[in-house]
């Protein structure tokens, strides 16, 4: 997965109306076959970045290279190469599901027979086959989002950009879409760039995650590495059966590497990276003091905490 699909070099976007720097000298490489998650709070520049990558928005400076070639939005080759599923489901309301896909497919010059097969295949995959003769306006919200996704994938692009496609989906559809995208990327070696404020999905789906804020890429790595590097660690909460003094806390801090310990009533709060591995050692110290742990609660480190640690902000939906 080291061959570069997209190379972004010193990319900057300044909106002249309010002189806002949405993207600030951004450098980034996205590799072939990877799912790249893009996280950022509102106004971080995610959508601006994606719209520049698909050629809908002009950059102020910098370069975007696809397979080594500079982005040329008029290039038919590039248009066949990339697919974009925008945040808002956009389709022709007065056309049926099939007709919507047929229009888009035809503009990609897909032969009629092949196009028909692809439409049916996509509709089956996205559980829309029974709806294909239905007007798009009559579909439920979830179905409309799936149609939106199908429209971005009809030409079988090598690189797929998904902007907040999980918003507004019921958990069932969300899980289904998750599996579908995983399959799409792994079986067909496609590159997917996804923005979402749903941390758990980005965490689970992405091979690498980039955290963007104020137009700058604050960190790029695998979700695990990000959590280990930038997270403040898991939180281990231990309930002790008897009263204990501060000496116990000092002992834990001295004996166990990289932990911070706090006392609250009868509980000990331990913040550390990879807490599970350290539990036996901590329990030994406590029991060595003649105390018993009556309850253990572990809160795992998440991308959310990484995100907050890097940006100082909560991630909210756009």
């Amino acid at each position: 997965m080291t061959e570069t699909a997209i190379q972004i070099q010193n990319l900057t976007k300044i909106y002249s109306t309010n002189n806002l720097k949405a993207i600030d000298s951004l450098d980034l490489a996205i590799y072939k076959g990877e799912i790249f998650g893009l996280l950022g709070p509102n106004g971080a520049g995610k959508t601006s970045l994606i719209r520049m990558l698909v050629g809908l928005l002009k950059s102020s400076s910098g370069q975007i290279l696809f397979d080594g070639d500079e982005l040329n939005i008029n290039s038919s080759r590039l248009k066949h190469h990339i697919g974009y599923v925008p945040q808002e489901a956009a389709f022709w309301k007065n056309l049926t599901v099939y007709e919507n896909l047929n229009v888009i497919g035809t503009t990609y010059n897909i032969p009629s027979k092949e196009l028909k097969e692809r439409i049916n295949h996509l509709l089956e995959g996205l559980y829309l086959i029974d709806q294909k003769k239905k007007l798009a306006s009559k579909l439920s919200g979830g179905m409309q989002r799936r149609l939106n996704l199908a429209m971005g994938m009809i030409h079988n692009p090598q690189i797929l950009f998904l902007d907040e496609v999980f918003v507004g989906l019921d958990p069932q559809t969300r899980n289904y879409l998750y599996d579908y995208l995983r399959d799409f990327a792994s079986k067909e070696n496609k590159t997917i760039i996804i923005t979402s404020h749903l941390m758990e999905i980005v965490d689970a789906l992405s091979d690498r995650v980039g955290i963007l804020d104020l137009g700058k890429m604050l960190a790029v790595d695998t979700p695990e590495n990000l959590k280990n590097t930038h997270g403040k660690g898991d939180i281990l909460e231990l309930e002790i059966d008897k009263e204990f003094d501060e000496d116990l806390l000092n002992k834990i801090e001295k004996s166990v590497k990289d932990v911070s310990v706090e006392k609250k009533d009868q509980d000990i709060f331990i913040k550390t990276l990879n807490a599970i591995a350290k539990i036996p050692e901590i329990l030994n110290i406590i029991e060595g003091e003649g105390l018993t742990v009556s309850d253990v609660k572990l809160t795992k480190q998440s991308l959310e905490t990484v995100f907050i640690s890097l940006t100082g902000k909560e991630l909210r939906g756009d």
């Binding site: 698909v54 248009k79 974009y84 888009i104 503009t107 010059n109 429209m151």
Partner: protein, 423 residues
């Protein structure tokens, strides 16, 4: 062998490309057709409204022309005068002055009204007749005063002859000839009496031209009604295109290899189909209300059809600057209203302001608006029976003007709607 293969490959690639161009344009056209025919609002705007207007006007104006109180006369005065001893008489000129001075009172206290409004020209030929009588001034009668008019008036033994030209089938012509005859006879009698004799006849030779049927106000206005029906297409083209932008479906197309020409071509094809339906419906309705047309419906339809493309072009121009369908619709209505008015200029006989002239054919300022040009042409075809060869200049002008409109529409949509945005 290699060259042959190269040629075959190039040919195959070219065929594939041409196939793609047509298939994409056609698919987009079908898309728009399905969208609009599934929209009740569209059916109301594009078909129902013009049809209702035509029915309404048919009921109001479908009867014969009401009595005209004043007549417009084109005069070709070829009279060279007559000199007797040292005095030169210009009786042709005197006749014209007399006609111009005849008034009749309306109600007491009102300003007297001229019976005749005189328009003079030096040259008389078919083109003069067509242009001046039926386009420029909406004249009811042409009067030709012969070269020897003064001499004949002076020579008591001869009958005094003038020629009038017009269509005997129109009530206006009949009324104007009748009024003219009375005044003309009185003029000749008075002049001869003043010269000392009153013998001889005053004779009016009528030259009938069968270019006008039993024309009614409705007949004159039908082309205007058909064309304002088509003007409605500005609204639907601008709205549908702006809604594409608003609902981000245009952005979806923008991401595909589709080019502006496919979009504009597809939309124009759809508009042409809609216009065809409108033309058939509106002419059929006009026939039902007694439209007296002697010209070719096909030619008239083709003229309106070509003109309709400029309406889609105006719709595209509006869409290029609109961000919401409601705004596009409002702007379109504002644009359409003056177009409606100007469409009827040729019917009302409002003079065009010449812009340039080619081989005696005048292109007027209002002809920049294809609606004006087309209304004039359709009237020429349907009321006066003119053919394509009579209207070659206008026809070519219409095509050129329409192509310019389409080119502007295409460029504007391309720049403002289909290029990567700066903001």
């Amino acid at each position: 062998m290699k060259d042959k293969d190269n040629f075959k490959n190039k040919l195959a690639s070219l065929t594939k490309n041409i196939g793609y161009e047509f298939r994409t344009t056609f698919t987009i056209s079908i898309k728009y057709l399905k969208e609009i025919f599934r929209s009740k609002l569209f059916l109301i705007i594009a078909i129902m409204l013009p049809a209702v207007l035509m029915i309404f006007m048919g009921v109001i104006f479908g009867g014969p022309i009401s009595a005209v109180q004043s007549y417009n006369i084109l005069v070709i005065n070829e009279d060279i005068g007559y000199t007797n001893d040292t005095t030169t008489y210009q009786f042709g000129e005197s006749l014209i002055n007399t006609l111009g001075n005849v008034t009749y009172p309306l109600e007491e206290g009102e300003v007297p009204m001229n019976i005749f409004y005189i328009f003079e020209t030096d040259v008389y030929n078919q083109s003069t007749e067509d242009f001046l009588i039926y386009e420029e001034h909406g004249l009811h009668l042409t009067l030709i005063i012969p070269e020897n008019f003064s001499e004949v008036v002076f020579n008591f033994d001869n009958d005094v002859r003038v020629t009038v030209v017009g269509d005997p089938l129109t009530g206006v012509y009949q009324n104007s000839v009748s009024t003219f005859t009375t005044i003309y006879n009185e003029f000749v009698d008075a002049v001869r009496f003043s010269l000392g004799d009153d013998t001889g006849q005053s004779v009016i030779e009528e030259h009938h031209i069968g270019i006008v049927g039993n024309t009614t106000v409705f007949d004159l206005m039908v082309p205007g009604f058909v064309i304002i029906g088509i003007v409605m297409n500005i609204v639907f083209v601008s709205t549908i295109l702006t809604e594409e932008y608003e609902l981000k479906t245009l952005e979806k197309l923008q991401l595909t290899p589709m080019r502006t020409i496919h979009l504009i071509g597809g939309l124009s094809l759809t508009q042409l189909f809609v216009a065809l339906v409108q033309i058939i419906v509106l002419f059929a309705l006009s026939l039902a209300f007694g439209y007296n047309a002697i010209g070719s419906y096909v030619l008239a339809g083709v003229i309106v059809w070509i003109m309709s493309l400029s309406m889609s072009a105006i719709g595209m121009m509006i869409a290029a600057f609109s961000k919401k369908g409601t705004i596009a619709s409002s702007i379109s209505s504002v644009v359409a209203i003056p177009l409606y008015m100007i469409t009827f200029f040729p019917v009302w006989g409002i003079e065009t302001i010449p812009m340039f002239q080619i081989n005696g054919n005048v292109f007027g300022v209002f002809d920049i608006l294809p609606t004006n040009l087309a209304t004039r042409m359709v009237n020429q075809v349907m009321i006066y029976g003119q053919t394509l060869s009579d209207l070659t200049f206008e026809f070519v002008s219409l095509i050129i003007v329409t192509v310019i409109y389409l080119a502007i529409g295409l460029v504007l949509v391309s720049i403002f709607k289909l290029r990567p945005k700066k903001e």
